[in-house]
Amino acid sequence: MFKRIAQTAGFTGLLAALLLTLLQSFWVAPLILKGETYEKAPAAEMHEHAEGAMAGHVHDEEAWEPENGWQRVLSTAGGNLVVAVGFALMLAALYTLRTPKSAREGVLWGLAGYAVFVLAPTLGLPPELPGTVAADLTQRQIWWVGTAASTAVALALIVFAQHWLLKVVGAVILVVPHMVGAPQPAVHSALAPEALEAQFKIASLLTNAVFWVALGWISAWLFRRSDAPATRPGLNPAL
């Protein structure tokens, strides 16, 4: 059973990561590089980590960093692959409990993943270009994880709960993180122009939407496909 989950997640992650890397390379990464030119120009010496944004974090100047160009693209592709396989593992795990009836149902799972891991967190912490002032990193990460987790529970209750009261509880849980509010910096400021930030937000939200729909659709298709030979006795080789 775990093999089926792993196979589904591995292949889905690979395909979705390739798609994401392609979209990023043409659309998102150029905006990040442009953002970095503003970041590096006025404050070459002041790295954003040096502001004490990370508690207990000492920026190590010697840490490896990919060179711009192919090294950076490959490194990002690797990052995408790990994240995509991770998300696909979560989807395939859910499929073992509730098998999608069609690959199209996987698209709905993908959209749910998009709502949980992109839409809900970005309501409080929008996608940011390098050089944007933000609150303490750990605080933001905690809010991000809390928001994603509560949105997942909330959606599950709203969609699957039988009793109306549980659906109402789901709706309340959905709103709570946004009532609490994401950690915000004392003063908002960004080095990149507003128009570039706005463009980056749209690019990030749309590429992630495509990524999640692809992830849901491919994972459901592969998960259902891997079950086919075992449930059709006539096709068992049995030799």
Partner: protein, 67 residues
């Protein structure tokens, strides 16, 4: 070496797949869920400098808190 008849073999296979109990499925699902969360955490949230630098564009693009 024991030889099982074709009928037995296919019967066993089907039984294993169909009657995977709920607890077995739960264990597989929860472990896969944890493994998946760990992978996302490692690439997207880890404070290790080299990992941050390598997955920098992934983090910004996915709207994970980065800096």
């Amino acid at each position: 070496m024991s030889i099982s008849t074709p009928h037995q073999t296919s019967g066993t296979t089907i039984t294993t797949v169909v009657t995977a109990t709920l607890s077995q499925r739960l264990v597989a699902a929860v472990s896969a869920m944890f493994l998946g969360a760990f992978l996302v955490y490692f690439a997207g949230f880890s404070h290790i400098d080299a990992v941050h630098n390598a997955a920098h564009d992934t983090r910004h693009s996915s709207a994970f808190p980065c800096h």
